[in-house]
Amino acid sequence: MSDRVVETLKPALVAGGVLLFICAGGLLGWLRQPRELRLDPPAAADLDQFRLMHNGISGTPPQSYFALGKPYEADAYNLSQGKRLYSWFGCPACHGDGRGGVGPSFLDGWWLYGPEMVSIVASIRDGRPHGMPAFRDKMTIEQIWQLAGYVQTIGSYTPKVAAPSRNDDKNSRPAENRGPAIIMFDEGPTGAHFDQGPSP
């Protein structure tokens, strides 16, 4: 009789085995890099060392950025931090909720310096002509990367795995996790948009 019991217990034992497997995985997960709350100073210094094309558009991030797993584009926590910084550092004063104002809009998918992280980081860090101030002395480089990741998300050029959190205030524009702009904004035969603020 008890053999039958053992037999019928088998699926449960299998389930138990699976759970123990998870437990072992838990130890592995322990070793997995946790949510990065404090970036090592050398890593932060390295994030400052990206290379930019001479025209200020596009470039290459430092190798360490890829080694970290592109955390400022792929990690919801960093994107959410970026979103907070967006309001903390007064970005809405010029760019509004992303629709633009004094400064250009991020929403239309037409960016003067392109959608690459390096360009955005450079824009924030060093400033740009026609009124974009440099935030080099106001923010740490880690914050600048977080903010850049968020700004890139507003434009939503490419699909992302992660999305920043939604603000608990009135929704005045499309969400950051909508479909990528690259589909919605086909360049078409007409070329450049004329209504997006001053050119560099």
């Binding site: 008890s2 019991v5 019928t8 138990g16 998870i22 995985g25 592995l28 969400a175």
Partner: protein
């Protein structure tokens, strides 16, 4: 086929040996993997459920040891705040949703059909489905935890912290969907138990002859049916807020952060009684068996169960005494919370009276019941304390409350549960647990528990809040915390010994007879473990104690033996009404559960999953309900 034609295949037509052979052929689950995956036998599913729930208990226990390791010293650096928040959230969620509620329902899945004298639970395929859903929900939570995306917002997931703005990533979504899994499975089991108790009782088992454990599971099932929809609404609104962009809980857009708390605790407080009431039933059963007399005051016990069950729905605001509601409205909940002490006290007095008047035999199950009374009375009295608004403003969200609810839930539910495992282990496995080891298990757990949790009352009064991952060295808490952490090792050793004993005894324990304790409820009138058809002939019940000399009065019913048939009886008097077929084994519940799992997990990532994911669910349900061309019932 007319009844006249199949008279020769009724159970009245055969002698005992032939009847058992034929019933076994009809009811037994086929061997092999397919058989294991498609079985609808309530005993197999019940055992699976219990085993899985205890695995989750062990995992949740490991998490609590990690927390104690971190809290043993001030400003310890063993676990960071991010991981700690995941650990305490997963510990709470796991213990409430994956251990406590399922294990109680699992005991009912196994025991209720046996105790009411029927051959299978009502809706057996739904039962199989509910187990797979439960397993999937548990795996979702634990896999997420391992991948460092475990929920980190507390098991209560208060908004706005769990809302779209402050809980980045998928962590809170995983929590909300995992709740949905367990809701589905718990609701399914609750419905099965209500129908089994109301319509499948053995003839003669009128409402005043139902065993107290069955009464408690009946009340619990109604609580599940009424409370779970509240959390379903809550978790669904939360996930809509987070994924779709609704604003139920967003004050900036006319939502309300306190709405979440009302919805959550409207479920959350009855949840405590969903866990506690089955334990009350277990205690009554064990007390009756080991004092050699029926429980004193059957009427009072039933009254207490129902009154507690209903009052449970009027207590939710006592979790919100400091949220800023009018004190007058809060005091209404003080009144109800205090009033619930009366039925609880009545139960304690009845058990004491039973032990006083009976001749107690101090086997391990009764030891756990005595431990239960010692601990639960403390938990109940601290419950009276936190029910008072001014008292609660000091101890709410402190370690006092941590101590209180562990006294209520571990003392009030886990102690009876362990007693119940020792008591029903022969019926579950056909073997006995070791009595000597059992005494050690009880001693270690009882001592370890009190040493671990009693000092937390004092910590709470001395100002230590809950859910902190560390505390500063200048706070006067480090001595007691170190003491608690060391005591937790004793407690863990007790549970470890229990698990070792259970695994060893399941394989090599002493073989159990049909009724090793000399008990008087129906499950003991069939072999240990019971055959697939539970009872060769259905029992006839003539009193609260239907077993006389280890046997019951067999009823001459005339159920067919060539297909699975049950007897349906009336709700109040349990008079026979009809014969009804009970479903056979089927793989479709598993497919349906898999399809639902895919849809639910996918919906964390895209709302479109609700649309596309419903197609496989529909296919699985069509397969499940495909007509079999068999008449359903005969009057």
């Amino acid at each position: 086929m007319t009844p006249k034609d199949n008279r020769e295949i009724r159970d009245t037509a055969f002698d005992a040996a032939e009847l058992e052979r034929r019933l076994a052929a009809t009811w037994t689950t086929p061997p092999g993997l397919l058989g294991a995956l498609s079985t609808v036998d309530h005993k197999i599913i019940g055992r699976r459920y219990i085993t899985t729930a205890f695995v989750f208990l062990a995992l949740g226990g490991l998490l609590s040891l990690l927390m104690r390791l971190q809290l043993a010293q001030p400003e310890a650096r063993f676990i960071g705040p991010d991981r700690y928040n995941q650990i305490f959230t997963t510990h709470g969620t796991n213990m409430m949703f994956l251990f406590a509620v399922p294990v109680m329902q699992a005991m009912a899945i196994y025991l209720v059909p046996l105790m009411v004298g029927t051959r299978n639970i009502a809706f057996p395929r739904l039962n199989a489905f509910s187990y797979w859903m439960y397993l999937a929900g548990g795996l979702l939570l634990w896999i997420a935890f391992v991948l460092d995306t475990g929920p980190d917002v507390g098991w209560f997931a208060y908004v706005p912290l769990a809302g779209p703005q402050y809980a980045a990533g998928k962590r809170a979504d995983i929590w909300a969907q995992m709740i949905t899994f367990t809701e589905v499975s718990a609701l399914a089991v609750a419905v099965e138990i209500v129908v089994t108790v109301f319509k499948q009782r053995a003839p003669g088992m009128s409402l005043d002859r139902i065993p107290l454990f069955v009464w408690s599971m009946l009340v619990t099932s109604f609580l599940v049916i009424l409370a779970m929809p509240a959390i379903m609404i809550a978790s669904t609104s939360l996930i809509l807020d987070r994924l779709v962009g609704t604003h139920f809980f967003n004050p900036a857009e006319g939502g309300d952060a306190l709405l979440w708390q009302h919805l959550f605790w409207f479920f959350g407080h009855p949840e405590v009684y969903i866990i506690f009431l089955p334990a009350v039933g277990m205690v009554s059963t064990i007390v009756a068996t080991f004092t050699r007399r029926p429980v004193f005051g059957y009427l009072g016990m039933v009254m207490a169960l129902i009154a507690t069950g209903v009052l449970a729905f009027g207590l939710w605001v006592h979790h919100m005494f400091v949220a800023g509601l009018p004190r007058l409205g809060e005091s209404f909940f003080t009144a109800s919370s205090m009033a619930i002490a009366v039925p609880a006290g009545l139960q304690i007095f009845c058990w004491l009276a039973t032990m006083w008047a009976g001749k107690p035999i101090f086997k391990t199950p009764l030891l756990f019941v005595i431990g239960f009374i010692v601990i639960f009375v403390i938990g109940g009295l601290t419950g009276v304390m936190v029910a008072s608004v001014p008292f609660d403003t000091q101890v709410h969200d402190t370690y006092f409350v941590v101590a209180h609810f562990h006294y209520v839930l571990v003392g009030g539910a886990v102690f009876p549960l362990l007693g119940a495992i020792y008591y029903w282990f022969p019926k579950l496995t056909g073997r006995m647990l070791n009595e000597t080891t059992g005494r050690w298990v009880f001693g270690l757990i009882f001592t370890g528990f009190n040493l671990t949790f009693f000092p937390m009352h004092i910590l709470g009064l001395r100002g230590m809040p809950r859910r902190i991952y560390t505390y500063q060295p200048e706070m006067p808490w480090s001595g007691l915390n170190m003491f608690i952490s060391l005591s937790a090792i004793v407690l863990a050793a007790g549970f470890l010994l229990f698990f070792i004993d259970a695994i060893r005894s399941a394989r090599a324990g002493a073989t159990a007879s049909a009724n090793p304790w000399g008990a008087t409820t129906l499950e003991w009138a069939t072999p240990s473990p019971p055959p697939s058809y539970n009872f060769a002939k259905l029992p006839l019940v003539d009193s609260l104690e239907p077993i006389h000399d280890d046997a019951f009065l067999p009823a001459a019913i005339g159920l067919r033996v060539d297909r699975r048939e049950l007897l349906i009886t009336s709700v109040v008097e349990a008079a026979p009404e009809a014969r009804e077929s009970s479903s056979g084994d089927s793989i479709w519940p598993l497919w349906a559960a898999l399809a639902t799992t895919v849809a639910l997990i996918w919906s964390i990532f895209s709302p479109w999953a609700v649309v596309w994911g419903s197609i496989p669910v529909a296919i699985a349900l069509i397969g499940w309900f495909w007509p079999k061309d068999v008449p359903e019932d005969d009057s």
